[in-house]
């Protein structure tokens, strides 16, 4: 289980001392890194495309009735012609957006699985509502008891090492509601700047020491966040961010998402016990100017995901899974700006060495009578089926009813490799009590 109060550990190692941020301390922290001989746990990276990525633009139909419907009826001024979409192995029903060349490469090298038409079990076209449901892990918000799904994941994780330094991270300035209720979840935007280094030249170091002492005994969520910030800043400063050598000579694009995923990779490879990274990225709400905007978004996403895959594959093959998802898809037909409004079903992309590559799930079709309320791609797979399978087979956590309180119907699609386990749907599961019986 994730050990949230790490105070004893910190005292035991002398990581926070009264000597401030001096060389001795950084040296000590550095010794801690790598002491365990490499990451102990698989890494789950959850890339959330805020704003609702248009699945029909990212993964356009290429043939058959769906293609005709898409090109001629739904999107006469917006579609990707099948002469331009990128072909994907083993079928000709769907291709990828022409700017997503690296993603097509991952798919065609059997490193990517695509799940058709996923989404919430009940449609909600509000970004904020749908995102909240996904971050909190329930559409019945009362059932979440004010915690995010990843908070509950860690609370019920029997395999997270007690001494994990930074088990979870959000590369960004604000934390995600997926970690609601866990004030120790690390949000870090620019790791090199993550230190109290703006003090006066005369007294700044002593000031920083005093601050550490003020936060020695956190007694409130606010104090715990401060404690965690000061403590992890020292771990983070002991990492050599400047001279990072990505595996396979992978080149991260100089974009927000490229920097975010690079930070995740560096943290994971620094052996701080990173187990889950939640990577929020925005800009996908393309009510206007979609053709142009999507081009850039798809290119940035594709390049960043590919760099991350190459980097981690070099040193930690088969030890990581990347999930790419939006809160919902977009309307099947174009709007007055040759763009799209909010919809429902949308593909999910799963990347890693342990995926069962190819397409999963069922595409419900684009004919008028197949669309949800006559306008949206319908949902045929509850997104929690996809996530749950990864939690069980890759992260070895089977307490699905605790993580997703209004979920009781696990239907794995065999998207990733790994041993299945019998899910526990009991929402009243007590992680501490139950741990003796697992």
């Amino acid at each position: 289980m994730k050990k949230i109060n790490r105070r004893q550990f910190i005292q035991g190692t002398g990581l926070i001392t009264l000597s401030g941020l001096g060389g001795l301390q950084v040296g000590m922290a550095r010794k801690l890194l790598g002491a365990n001989g490499g990451p102990q746990r698989d890494l789950l990276v959850y890339v959330f495309l805020n704003g609702a990525m248009d699945g029909l633009h990212m993964l356009p139909p290429r043939s058959g009735a769906d293609y005709n419907e898409y090109r001629n009826t739904l999107r006469p001024n917006l579609h990707i012609p099948n002469t331009e979409s990128l072909p994907l192995n083993g079928q000709n029903a769907f291709g990828l957006h022409p700017a997503a060349t690296e993603m097509a490469g991952l798919f065609n090298r059997n490193k990517m699985a695509i799940v058709h038409a996923t989404g919430l079990s009940q449609s909600n076209r509000s970004h904020f509502e749908a995102t909240k449901y996904m971050e909190l892990g329930a559409q019945d918000l009362g059932a979440t008891a004010g915690t995010g799904w990843l908070t509950r994941y860690f609370q019920s994780s029997l395999h997270t090492p007690e001494d994990a330094l930074i088990p979870s991270a959000v590369p960004g300035t604000a934390n995600s509601a997926a970690f609601l209720g866990d004030p120790t979840a690390l949000a870090v935007n620019d790791p090199e700047d993550f230190t109290m280094a703006n003090g006066h030249w005369a007294w700044g170091d002593v000031q920083a020491e005093m601050l550490n002492r003020l936060y020695e005994n956190p007694d409130s969520p606010e104090a715990t966040v401060g404690h965690q910030a000061l403590y992890t800043s020292q771990v983070i400063q002991s990492i050599d961010w400047d001279n990072y050598q990505p595996g396979n000579n992978a080149v991260y694009p100089d974009t927000e998402l490229g920097r975010q995923l690079k930070t995740v990779a560096q943290l994971y490879r620094s052996d701080v016990g990173l187990e889950v990274a939640y990577v929020p990225t925005g800009g996908w709400d393309t009510h206007d100017g979609q053709s142009y905007r999507f081009n850039n978004l798809a290119a940035e996403l594709s390049a960043a995901l590919s760099a991350f895959y190459e980097d981690l594959h070099a040193h930690h093959p088969s030890r990581f899974t990347v999930v790419v998802q939006s809160e919902f898809g977009r309307r099947a037909y174009q709007n007055s700006a040759n763009s799209t409004d909010h919809g429902y079903g949308n593909p999910m992309f799963i990347i890693g060495d342990t995926v069962n590559p190819g397409f999963h799930g069922q595409f419900p079709g684009l004919a008028a009578n197949q669309l949800f309320e006559g306008g949206d791609v319908n949902v045929t797979t509850d997104y929690r089926d996809v996530v749950s399978e990864i939690l069980i087979k890759r992260m070895r956590n089977r307490f699905l009813g605790y993580i997703f309180p209004d979920y009781a119907d696990y239907n794995p699609l065999n998207i990733v490799q790994g041993d299945d386990m019998t899910p526990v749907f009991e929402a009243n599961y007590d992680p501490i009590f139950a741990s003796g019986f697992d």
């Binding site: 994730k2 109060n5 805020n50 009940q122 449609s123 909600n124 076209r125 509000s126 904020f128 509502e129 559409q139 019945d140 918000l141 059932a143 008891a145 915690t147 959000v170 960004g172 300035t173 934390n175 609601l180 004030p183 949000a187 870090v188 620019d190 700047d193 109290m196 280094a197 703006n198 006066h200 007294w203 700044g204 002593v206 000031q207 005093m210 003020l214 936060y215 007694d219 409130s220 969520p221 606010e222 104090a223 715990t224 966040v225 401060g226 910030a229 800009g283 009510h287 174009q334 007055s336 700006a337 949902v379 045929t380 509850d382 605790y402 309180p405 209004d406 979920y407 929402a427 599961y429």
Partner: protein, 590 residues
């Protein structure tokens, strides 16, 4: 495969989607495992010794206390703090009677502000698009929004109309515009000056109309190009979900006939079909410059609101079960009637009331005060001072006056609060590159005003702001500003009044001991005395000598604050000690 179909909060009585409702789950997980958060359930230190009333009020309805405002309230008529505070609330509710010339002088042309008085058309033509439709170069393009940002910082620090500043922040977030959305930057002066600020204590219906017609919103949520041939739902959806009825009153994919009617005869919420109808009603509400033809054949685009009858859907619209018909003689009538309906709807007034109470009282305000504020809003929905009346209900309530620590200060509130306390005198002249450095540093806090990307505005609950990165960014910014001089070499004057306030508050230099300096500044910033542990840590620092090899001296030794010589650097140590008080967990409470 079967899909788990659990209703959100209101149970649809019709299964529109064709899915079966498989199960109604009644299980609840336990409360978040408190065992692992044992220390979190302990006594809240700040709650044990709440700050005094004047401190609480200035922290909740203003950007925090400073020496001037505390002194001002203390000299107001009344025999008790409570009576004085009531007078202060009345003053703040009537900002037109407060002389704020000194603050306004700071955001004038004399201090480098050149765009804040430009008309909407001037902003469009001089900063957005040239006559041929090309855009102006980036620094010209963004100058208006940069000036609004700097003016917002200056007003936060210096304005005596603090409630107006808090309300402007509230309404800017309610009708949020993301300042990285292309095209809003040149027009943001108009949005701040003419759309939001004149109405912050005025009438909601009027503000809603002004927002709907504003160039910024027409650009940000794409209604400028919304036309009958293929409507764009973006603004229509957010008007109902974020600006008026709120997501709590969204019934999803239900048939409109099935939405229950409330006690006052209104359909109690909206459904997907209402969003589509609203989008149709909004067709043609646009601005000059939104169409390619506005730049052709000698046409001159002005950026002002333009209703385009040929884009408007003339068919009848049904919203919340009522029909609205087009009038050729008054073509804006249909949408205006819908805005009337939305503005007077009990759901809207409850939604606004809850947000106001959440902003000023508690993350989870009590139902009674929400209802009281909602009732005031609703009974006065056509009054020009509707919001002022509602705020009077709110600010004079026990819920407002007696609660403490049920919210935390967001980063911008912490920053401005700190700068008010130290009386930061930096000029924030838009032509000074140091102004830009201040501006960019605020991004590291995650709370740069006008830079929340989504139309729902910055979150107003504690959990969002309990992030390590945001906390670190906020601390570092205050850490830097607390000892800043006009120049980075430290040869020009210091930009704070900490020393001056110390000499005024502790006039006897024999009181300049570490122990008394800590208590004086802690009480000023936190509104109560520190506990022994905090006091000792701060006093250890204040009593330290020789920055090259620090030794902790006696907490009761007198420190010469007229002497800032190396290696003791007494004044600089005082500034850093004061800054550290802004980093305590107690300072974050609101």
């Amino acid at each position: 495969m079967p899909i788990d179909y659990t209703p959100k909060r209101k149970k649809p009585n019709k299964d529109i989607s064709g899915h079966h409702q498989l199960k109604k789950l009644s299980r609840r997980p336990k409360q978040p495992a408190i065992k692992t958060h044992a220390f979190m359930s302990g006594a809240d230190k700040a709650a044990a010794t709440p700050p005094h009333l004047i401190h609480r009020v200035l922290t909740k309805m203003a950007y925090g206390p400073n020496s001037d405002d505390v002194a001002h309230i203390n000299q107001l008529p009344g025999s008790s703090d409570q009576a004085k505070v009531m007078v202060y609330i009345d003053e703040q509710l009537n900002p037109q009677n407060i002389n704020d010339a000194a603050c306004e002088q700071r955001i004038s042309g004399a201090n480098g502000f050149t765009t804040l008085n430009k008309s909407r058309q001037q902003l469009y033509q001089q900063h957005f698009r040239k006559a041929d439709g090309d855009t102006h170069e980036w620094s010209v393009f963004t100058r208006p929004t940069r000036e609004v940002s700097l003016a917002t910082i200056l007003r936060g620090i210096h304005s005596k109309r603090q409630l107006v500043e808090m309300m402007a922040d509230f309404w800017h977030n309610h009708f949020n515009i993301f300042n990285d959305a292309f095209g809003v930057q040149p027009m943001f002066v108009h949005y701040d000056r003419d759309v939001i600020r004149p109405n912050v204590l005025g009438n909601f219906r009027e503000m809603l109309y002004q927002v709907t017609c504003s160039t910024c919103m027409l650009i940000y949520l794409n209604n400028g190009s919304n036309r009958a041939s293929a409507p764009n739902e973006n603004y229509a959806r957010e008007v109902m979900e974020l600006h008026t009825l709120g997501a709590d009153n969204y019934f999803g994919h239900m048939d409109w006939q099935d939405v229950p009617i409330d006690g006052q005869g209104y359909r109690s919420g909206y459904v997907e079909a209402d969003v589509m109808e609203m989008a149709r009603a909004l067709t043609g509400w646009s601005f000059s410059g939104a169409d390619w033809w506005d730049y052709q054949n000698g046409n001159i685009a002005t950026g002002v609101f333009q209703y385009r009858d040929d884009w408007h859907d003339k068919a009848s619209k049904r919203v919340l079960g009522e029909n609205f018909t087009y009038s050729a003689t008054n073509p804006q009538r249909d949408l205006n009637q819908i805005l009337d309906l939305l503005a007077q709807h009990p759901g809207t007034n409850r939604f606004l009331a809850k947000k106001l109470c959440r902003r000023f009282i508690s993350d989870e305000p009590d139902a009674t005060i929400i209802e009281a504020v909602a009732t005031t809003l609703r009974q006065n929905w056509q009054a020009p001072d509707q919001i002022k009346l509602a705020m009077e209900t709110l600010l004079k309530s026990n819920d407002f006056l007696t609660t403490w620590g049920e919210k935390i200060k967001r980063p911008f509130e912490r920053i401005i609060g700190a700068l008010r306390q130290i009386q930061y005198t930096f000029e924030f002249n838009p032509n000074n590159e140091h102004s830009g450095w201040h501006f960019w540093d605020i991004f590291d806090t995650g709370h740069q005003p006008f830079y929340w990307a989504s139309p729902n505005g910055y979150p107003d609950i504690r959990s969002h702001w309990l992030g390590t990165s945001s906390l670190m960014g906020t601390w570092k910014l205050i850490q830097r500003m607390a000892h800043r001089h006009e120049d980075y070499d430290g040869n020009k004057p210091i930009l704070n009044q900490v020393l001056n306030d110390t000499f005024v508050g502790l006039p006897d230099t024999n009181d300049h001991t570490a122990a008394k300096l800590v208590d004086f500044w802690y009480e000023k910033i936190i509104g109560a005395l520190p506990d022994a542990v905090t006091h000792n840590h701060l006093a250890d620092f204040m009593a330290s000598k020789d920055c090259t090899d620090p030794v902790v001296g006696n907490h009761n030794d007198v420190i010469d604050l007229n002497d800032n010589s190396w290696p003791d650097k007494n004044q600089d140590r005082l500034y850093d000690m004061v800054a550290t008080i802004f980093f305590t967990p107690e300072f974050i409470d609101r």
